[in-house]
């Protein structure tokens, strides 16, 4: 875990930087926005201490909150996905009980990874957009926002992996 630390700090910095400076400015038709920074939570090694993962998710979320004037919405959305991550990984993950692996496309395979990422990103976006709307009127508009934004986020998450992360976790 300690050996991973510098690399994970770098990844966190780059993802936050891109989120705040680039992705936060992407909006289509007042509906689609994108939050690929959750990739960081997806990338945590499978044997990460669960309490540590929660703290990381909280810090990550609150950092994005500070930069996007959104109170604690991102932190509130990141925590549940960090909490359920071990269960999802156990369900979708490979059977081989290696003591530690980094959940990436390379390790899980494209289909398994897509399932994992879709569940996590959908949950994150659902909580985020519900909190932003703060009411259940216009439910279908919010739903449209959630689904379209999640699609774009997952697209970016997959692309980022193909472009930047070579053999992570090896």
């Amino acid at each position: 875990m300690i050996a991973h630390l510098p690399r994970y700090l770098l990844i966190a910095f780059l993802l936050l930087f891109c989120q705040v400076m680039v992705f936060n400015n992407i909006h289509f038709a007042n509906i689609v926005s994108t939050y690929p920074y959750v990739l960081f939570i997806l990338l945590l090694p499978s044997n990460t201490n669960n309490a540590l993962a929660l703290v990381i998710a909280f810090v990550l979320g609150i950092t994005v909150d500070f930069f996007s004037d959104s109170g604690g919405m991102h932190a509130a959305a990141c925590l549940p996905i960090a909490y359920i991550r071990p269960f999802i990984l156990r369900t979708v993950g490979t059977e081989s009980k290696k003591d530690s692996y980094t959940p990436t496309i390379k390790h899980l395979g494209f289909n398994r990874y897509l399932t994992y990422a879709t569940i996590m990103v959908l949950l994150h976006h659902t909580i985020l957009f519900m909190l932003e709307a703060f009411e259940f009127s216009l439910f279908f508009l919010t739903l449209l926002k959630i689904v379209s934004s999640a699609f774009l986020s997952i697209l970016f998450i997959v692309l980022i992996q193909y472009i930047f992360i070579k053999d992570p976790g090896k």
Partner: protein, 282 residues
């Protein structure tokens, strides 16, 4: 006791999760409800500095348009200055300027961060409490109203944008002098874009025409009166039929906005304390 500790330890993950989640939700809900209570805003030291550095780079991109806009407003100001007027009657005595006392003072500031597409939008400016900026001051653009300061740090200030569901501003129609409240709600049915706003609670007796100019009434805290805000594009009777709702096209384009003026009402405290003393005390 031992059992209790065992249960606590067994569920420590769930408890940690619930604790952090409730903390985050509290922040989020506070941020939604109490605009001034929140301390998570982009005027804080670290985020303010980061946005300032980034803005130093990106502000070069559209210097040309901004120069044109500034030159424009400068020309307007020059045409208002005394030297632009011809003295017609030299026999008149000199006007003593004790007749006029300054009421509003303007500070120039630059936007270093803003949101446009959210349900509640904010801006961050590069002037803060050390420049004399205080919570509640009005923020104006070259051709319209931008918002109201809702938080300051030493060198930055956070502004509640006009494009925020918490903003209300008393305005009036220039032609008929009818009053109304200017509001913006990005979530409302049909959705307002960042170039539009609504004027609500306009009396039924008011005669409205498409194209009428809407100006500030000067009743809201710190906002000078008579500033053009936008023009009427549509109007309907409000539900209940007691008033009219007017849809407005804003003059100000938040998308290209960069330089703003922060307005200080010198007489604000005097006006406030008078109203507090004689109008709210019953």
């Amino acid at each position: 006791m031992k059992n209790l500790l065992a249960i606590l330890y067994k569920n420590h993950l769930l408890l940690l999760f619930l604790f952090l989640e409730i903390t985050a939700l509290t922040f989020a809900i506070q941020h939604n409800n109490f605009q001034r209570a929140s301390f998570i805003h982009s005027a804080s030291y670290v985020t303010g500095n980061t946005y300032e550095v980034m803005n130093n780079f990106s502000s070069y991109m559209d210097l040309k348009e901004k120069n044109a806009l500034l030159a424009d407003s400068l020309a307007k100001l020059k045409s208002l200055s005394l030297s632009a007027y011809l003295k017609r009657d030299t026999s008149l005595t000199k006007v003593s300027d004790t007749l006029y006392k300054q009421r509003y003072s303007y500070t120039n500031a630059m936007i270093i961060h803003q949101t446009l597409h959210k349900a509640n939008n904010f801006l961050t400016l590069d002037k803060g409490s050390s420049d004399g900026i205080q919570v509640g001051m009005a923020v104006l653009g070259v051709n319209g109203v931008v918002g109201k300061v809702n938080g300051t740090s030493d060198r930055f200030s956070s502004v509640l944008s006009l494009l925020n569901s918490q903003t209300t501003l008393s305005c009036k129609l220039k032609s008929s002098k009818s009053l109304g409240f200017l509001v913006w709600n990005g979530k409302s049915a049909g959705g307002l874009t960042y170039r539009q706003a609504m004027l609500i609670d306009v009396p039924l007796t008011a005669k409205i025409r498409v194209g009428d100019t809407v100006v500030t009434a000067g009743y809201s805290d710190n906002f000078p009166g008579g500033i053009p805000v936008g023009k009427v594009i549509d109007f309907t009777d409000a539900s209940g039929g007691q008033s009219q709702d007017v849809k407005i096209q804003l003059f100000l384009d938040f998308n290209v906005l960069d330089h703003v003026f922060i307005v200080r009402d010198v007489l604000h405290e005097e006006k406030d304390s008078l109203q507090l003393k004689f109008q709210n005390a019953n």
